[in-house]
Every structure is written in structure tokens, then in C-alpha cells.
Symmetry: C2
Subunit: 465 residues, 2 copies
């Protein structure tokens, strides 16, 4: 569809312009005042047009655990999650729909789903999530969450000798499934890209990482992983490798300019330099890092070192919303308390750039999306600046980044296809989604995890609690 | 108005009950299943009823600066604010309306407005804010923001000798105005309470604090103040008093069980004990503390020491929203990164209690509001649990505290009067408010503060930047 957005505010480096924006064949074709109209007209007056953001790390099926997970650190939280988060394909579908809707309505037009797989139905899980994303029309980056070690291996041993069960599948089998998924589903021009995405050093062997590198190289896939989310993982890396997790990943060749790494809380200065040199992207998930008590990622250091940083919501089990604007706000202002020199603080326009172009860079698509640039694909979001939460009129970008914008995404397009109009997702029946989420759940009040009970004493000991 | 809310979920200590709640003459008259209906019936099914929260610290007129303030530490930010935030009575009125609406729609039924006064129109300012709050129907605690030293006195001198202009009014004149305001407006039974509220040790003399103590004692008023929001204020207290600000306030008798203190970021362990012993309330403003880089208040220490803690949004110039649920979420999970032992972390039900009963305690009205207790005034909020942002159904309190609830306040009552129905404030015309906020403002892009330029070099020097 071709269209022209008339009289819309756009942000320049340090100012605003009122322009028309013309989209032809899904691409941004012209940006200038008073363009001749081509295609449908959209009234942009009192609205701000921004490039769509990237929700650069989430786990869509965690939608089902929103609000109910205990207030625990990651390692115990994971144990509880494993015990209670049983999935089926319907839940995968609805979780992805919900994640896509919340991402779109908070300014995101792309989502990286570090997708939890149903054991034995891995390909079906991936197909189902993709179905949901395509129905909604959001740009999807599917990063199947794989591991080849069992959960307890993710906690450092400390002085003790720990035995861990074997993982239920071999490394080889996992990689075969992944390759099959890539063959079946990787289709960037259709809006679906597959990533290789081992869970992280805490639950993966060398062989799994290396197999993923091979697939990434063979099929031109981006790479994703969790990295040093917790202090326990920092300890574990020293136990496993005798060096930092970053040094290890560099040594085996996992780091690259198409590698994005979620969390990155416990990196030392040498690690930061390695990320900068290898041109990796850090995906900042500020809310889950707070909820799980993981720590405050040294984002100002990353930016000063020239590391690309983007934002993620993380799964709803560790940040019980999928609102990207919330992640951007908190992920920006949080760091003001980590450096007394305010000249290093993140400014609202920088936050917007991190969320859009930063996200695109981390997925190796900065030439295609992430900014209002002629020739780029039209992943666009139009914000209604007359909404009460964005009034009075002051600085539009400041209002969007620093306020708590609510119901402000008026329209959104992905690759030129309109997916939000009049503040509503127009591609699916959101009321149906709401009814299904309601129908397939019930109020939960008390639940007690047996796995947590089994792990907790060891966890407390090894973490000196 | 008498009414009965039927079949509504309420939270008990560690569970939920479905009950009817009967309100007679503005008070909670019965809570039990299957009550005989008295008055109007409200359907509470699939809804959660909580006591109204207290927005325990804000500055309503800062609404006009939302989104536009530079990303500065408090001292420079204040300089910018003083320069640009000129007020008139219409702006006071609309700012208070907006603050009240956003507070109500995020679960708050009481607001403490540390109210910026128009010089020369102090009583008119107070009258205008009260008019707005009474029109909306929110419970108002008016804390006129007074000081008797000029702005530059708020920055430590360091090695230098600093001269400060005299404040434009004498201490005596300020206190006379305040007393007149108390006589005219203090009317707790009418929903308006006056507080004494010197800005803080950084801009107030001994004489002003002591005058406020006398007024507080004479008229039975609660006391409010900013306290140790920044490291600069910690330095300043040592310069001014040779001791911590808390020791100073204790010595002059300002601390009491009806004293609430906003921020409390830079307190040492002795200070924490003093707050506990004097039964003061800490008002936690997590978002402005982040935005201004003030620091993370040691809230877990306060709770462990038995200090009462409540939540505030702070003014929209330093937290560009007045959404109390955001302050509660961030003010709860933020502290998980300050203590590795997760057993000390704040649980969602504790957050709710801090926001409601904690707020009431800090205003010396815990016997009247702050919980669903028979005989208390009906300050009630009914949350729609079928909203997409609160689905799927899991733990209702967890969803409300840890999610990003949007459009979830379905009904609210203050002293038994319904002020929100069907998700909308029903006492005023919110569209009119929106139009006026729009009409009286314009997009601001670049502005440069002369005052900041004058202060910055000294600020950087004294803060070792």
C-alpha cells in the first residue's frame, strides 16, 4: 500500500520539523514539506512520527506467568519457572499474540523472541509463534531458546561437588532441529528471521555454541544469547572456563557484529572492551534486572566504549509487562545514579536512537530499518500528542521517553503495512485474545515450588547468603 | 451515597476472598459474602478492590514542565525550573486538575501537593489548587512549599565564599501567610488538610523550621519536607550545621510521628535509627531520584529498621508522569539490586500496604483511611482484572504491582463519593482539561537556562566533577 502522512512532526538531531512522509511499496520514498499526495492520506497533525522500536529480547510464552512469579533471584526464579510454566501450542500462540500486541502499542515494530520450545514439539512451537507474529504483522526475529545442560548446572558448585542430570536431548539432536527450523522458517524478506540463540554459558556446552556458530555462518544468521545476567553466572564462568564468560565467548568465536547479548550486567572493564572491539550489541533489560535483583548493567560504560545498546522487555515472568516505552524510560534514567557526572547521562533522543537504530544494528538490519531514512522499509509509529499523558505540549521526545505514555500509539506500519490504526491493533481481534487469556487461566494465590526448595540451600551457600 | 459492591475480590494477608462490601454514609460498613443490598449495587465480579493509595509527594504545577526539563542533577535542574516555570492561577488550577486525574486513574485517592506558590499570590494559589482538588473530589493534603533563602544557598560553598541574595520575603511574613492559609483552608473533614512544609534544610533557616513546628503544634498539622535528596545536600548540611540534616532536624524538634520526609536518599545508619525512633515517614520518590541522578534511597534499610515508607510521584518536572502505579512498581523492584539477600526484598502485598496504609500513617490518618477496615472512610479503588494488561489471570496484586497496568482503574470512591466510573473521572470534564493543557502550551525544542550557566562551574567544582 502507498500512503502519505501529512503535516507530521519528525525529530531531527536537535529540533523538530513538520513534513509529509511518503511511503511507496513499503519503503520510505520521500520526506519533505508539502509533498504531492500518493496513495492514502493520513493526517499527521499534532502527531509525532518515529521509527519503530525493536523489543530486542523477550520470551513470549512467559506471558502466562505474568504477575505470579516469586520475588526471587534468577537462579531460584528459573527453578520455579521450570516447574510451573508448562506449555502447549495454544499457549505459545496466545503468548506470542499478546507479546506482539503490547510491543506494537508501546512503539515496537520488531520483536526478538528468545522462544521457549515445547520439548518434543520444537518445530511446531516455532511455527505457532511465527503464525501469531505474521497474523499481527509485527517483524519477528525468532531465537529458539536452546540448551544442552540441565537446570542445576546453572548454579556454581562452590566448594561442593554437584552432579547434574543429563539433558534430555543430545547436542547433535538439538542442532539438527535448529537447522531444520532455519530451513523451514528463515525468511527475512517475509518478515521472519531465525537466530541462533543458545541460552547462555550457564546451560550450554562448547559443542552447542560451536554448532550455533556454524549454523550462523552457514545460513547468515544473527546470534543471540543471555550473557552474565547474574553474579552467580560470573562465578560459574570462572568455575567452568577459568576466565570471564566474555573472554570465553570471544575465544570460541561467538562474538561478532551480528551478535546481540541480553543483560550484560556483570562485565568487567576488559569485557567491555572486548564487546566494543567485536562490535557486539548489548540488549538492555532494565526491568527484569531489577525484578530479579540481577544488578544494574553498566550501560553508560558501554556507550562510552562505543558498544551498541538496544532495549528489551524480557519475558513477562521477569518483567510483568511487555511495554517497550517503560523499558526505554527506566533503562535510560536508571543509569543517572551510576555516574555523578550528568554529562554522561542518556538524553531522550539518544534513548530513541538506541531503541530503534540500536535495535536494528544488533540484528544486522540497520541498512533496512531503524530510522526515518529514504529507501528504508516503512516500520513507522505515529504518536498522538494530544493524549492527556503527553500534555501539556513541551518536548515531544522528552514526553514520550520520560513520561508514562498510555494509549499514545495512534498508528503503526510494518514494512508499509498498517497494523495499528486509531490506537488499536487492526490485524487481529484483540478482544478474542483477551477472552482466551482470561478463559485459559485462573486466579492463582499460593504456589510453592519443590525445585526451589531443593536448590535453595545450595544456592544460598554458594552465594554466601 | 450508600452502596454495595458485590462479588468483589479483596486481598487478605496471603490469599483472596470474594465478598460484598457495603458503604454507608461514606464509611465501610460491612465486608462479608452475600450481604443484603443497601443502596446502589456495583458489580465487583472479576474486579479487585483495594484501599486508595496516597500520592505522598508531588508538586502539581510542575505538570507544565513535563517532558522538557534538561537531564540534570537536582541543583542545576532547580535552577532551570526557577527560570522557566513561571506560573499563573490558571496554570495552578489546571496542573492540580491534571495531577488529581492521573493520581486517581493510577489508584490514588489522596494527594500531598507540596505546592509551589505564586509570589505575591500565595493564598490565591492555595485556594485555586484546593478548588481543583475539590472539583475532582480527591482527598487533598496541601503542603505550601516555603523557603526563606535564595536558590543559590542550596549548593554547598566548598572552599569558596559564596554570597546569596536575600529571599524576597521575611521569615515572619512567610509564616504569617502560612498561618492565614491554615485558618482559611484547613478542613480535614471536608477533605482538605493543610501541612507545614518547609522546602528543606537547603533553603530554609532555623527560624522558618521553628515557626513551622509552632504552627504544626498549634493547629495539629502534619509536617512535610524534602530531606537529603542529593549528595550536595548532605555536604551542605555538614557545612551549615556540622552534623547530618537528620540530626539537625531532630535537635530542633521537627521529627515526629506526623512528619513525612520526601526522598531520604543520603542518610547514614545513625540517621535511619533517628527516623525510626522519631516515627517519621519516608516518602519514596524512586522515579525522580533516578531522573535527577540523586541516588537510590536505602528503602530496605528503612523497612528493616521499622521506618514507615510510602510512595510519591514527585512533580512532573522530575518524573514526567503522575502515575502512582509506576512509582510503586519501580520503588519496589529497584531495591532488589541493593541487597543480594532476596529474603529482604519487597513483596507485592507489602508494596500495596506501603502505598495505602503507609501513606495514611505518614499523614496521621491511619485510623481513618488506608485499609479495607470497618468504620474507615471509603477511599476505595476497583480494578478491572479483565483488562489486557492484567491478563492472563494469575495473582491480582502481583499483576497490579509488577505489571504495567493501563486503563485498569474502573471505579474509585473518596469518602464514599464516586469519582471514577467506567474507567473515567466522572467529576470533571477531562476533555476540557486536555484541551486547555494543549491550548496553553506549545512545542518546545531548545531552551537554554542562563541561571544554570551561572551556577554550573561552581556546582561542578564543589561536587568534584
Amino acid at each position: 500500500m502507498n500512503f502519505t502522512i501529512q503535516n507530521v512532526l519528525i525529530a531531527t538531531n536537535d529540533d523538530y520539523l513538520t513534513v509529509d512522509v511518503r511511503v511507496v511499496d513499503g519503503k520510505i520514498a520521500a520526506i519533505a514539506p508539502d509533498l504531492d499526495v500518493i496513495g492514502t492520506i493520513f493526517d499527521g497533525s499534532n502527531k509525532l512520527l518515529l521509527p519503530g522500536f525493536v523489543n530486542a529480547h523477550t520470551h513470549s510464552s512467559e506471558m502466562w506467568q505474568r504477575g505470579v512469579m516469586s520475588i526471587f533471584p534468577l537462579e531460584l526464579w528459573l527453578a520455579e519457572l521450570y516447574e510451573f510454566a508448562s506449555l502447549n501450542l495454544e499457549k505459545v500462540y496466545l503468548g506470542a499474540l499478546g507479546t506482539a500486541v503490547e510491543t506494537l502499542l508501546s512503539g515496537g515494530t520488531s520483536v526478538v523472541d528468545h522462544l521457549v520450545l515445547i520439548p518434543g514439539q520444537e518445530l511446531e512451537t516455532i511455527a505457532m509463534a511465527i503464525r501469531a507474529y505474521q497474523e499481527v504483522g509485527i517483524r519477528a526475529f525468532i531465537a529458539p531458546l536452546i540448551q544442552d545442560e540441565s537446570l542445576s548446572a546453572g548454579i556454581p558448585s562452590g566448594e561442593s561437588v554437584q552432579k547434574h542430570e543429563l539433558y534430555f536431548r543430545t547436542t547433535k539432536a538439538i542442532l539438527e532441529i535448529l537447522e531444520e527450523a532455519v530451513k523451514q522458517f528463515h525468511c527475512p524478506e517475509g518478515g521472519v528471521s531465525m537466530l541462533v540463540a543458545p541460552t547462555g554459558i550457564q546451560l550450554c556446552t562448547d559443542a552447542l555454541f560451536k554448532g550455533c556458530i556454524d549454523l550462523s555462518d552457514g545460513y547468515g544468521l544473527c546470534r543471540h544469547s543471555h550473557l552474565l545476567e547474574t553474579k552467580a553466572q560470573e562465578k560459574l564462568a570462572q568455575e567452568k572456563y577459568g576466565c570471564s564468560a566474555v573472554e570465553y565467548l570471544q575465544r570460541i568465536g561467538y562474538l561478532s557484529d551480528r551478535t546481540s547479548l541480553a543483560h550484560c550486567v556483570w562485565l568487567n572493564d576488559d569485557d567491555v572492551n572486548i564487546l566494543a572491539q567485536s562490535q557486539c550489541t548489548v540488549v538492555h533489560n532494565p526491568l527484569s534486572n531489577l525484578r530479579l535483583g540481577s544488578g544494574i548493567a553498566p550501560i553508560l560504560k558501554y556507550l562510552q566504549a562505543g558498544v551498541n545498546v538496544s532495549f528489551g522487555c524480557d519475558g513477562a515472568a521477569s518483567n510483568d509487562s511487555q511495554d517497550l516505552l517503560e523499558a526505554i524510560k527506566i533503562g535510560s534514567i536508571l543509569h543517572n545514579v551510576t555516574d555523578f557526572d550528568y554529562r554522561n547521562w542518556i538524553l531522550p533522543r539518544k534513548s530513541i536512537e538506541m531503541a530503534s537504530l540500536g535495535g536494528a544494528k544488533g540484528l544486522n538490519v540497520a541498512d533496512k530499518i531503524g530510522s526515518l531514512t529514504l529507501g528504508k522499509e516503512a516500520d513507522l509509529v505515529l504518536y498522538d500528542l494530544t493524549n492527556l499523558s503527553l500534555l501539556p505540549r513541551t518536548d515531544p521526545v522528552g514526553l514520550i521517553v520520560l513520561g508514562r505514555p498510555t494509549n499514545v500509539v495512534y498508528s503503526a506500519w510494518v514494512n508499509g503495512r498498517q497494523v495499528v490504526s486509531n490506537g488499536r491493533v487492526n490485524t487481529i481481534n484483540v478482544d478474542y485474545l483477551r477472552q482466551e487469556l482470561f478463559r485459559r487461566s485462573q486466579w492463582e494465590t499460593k504456589r510453592k515450588s519443590q525445585t526451589v526448595s531443593e536448590l535453595e540451600a545450595h544456592y544460598r551457600q554458594v552465594m554466601d547468603l
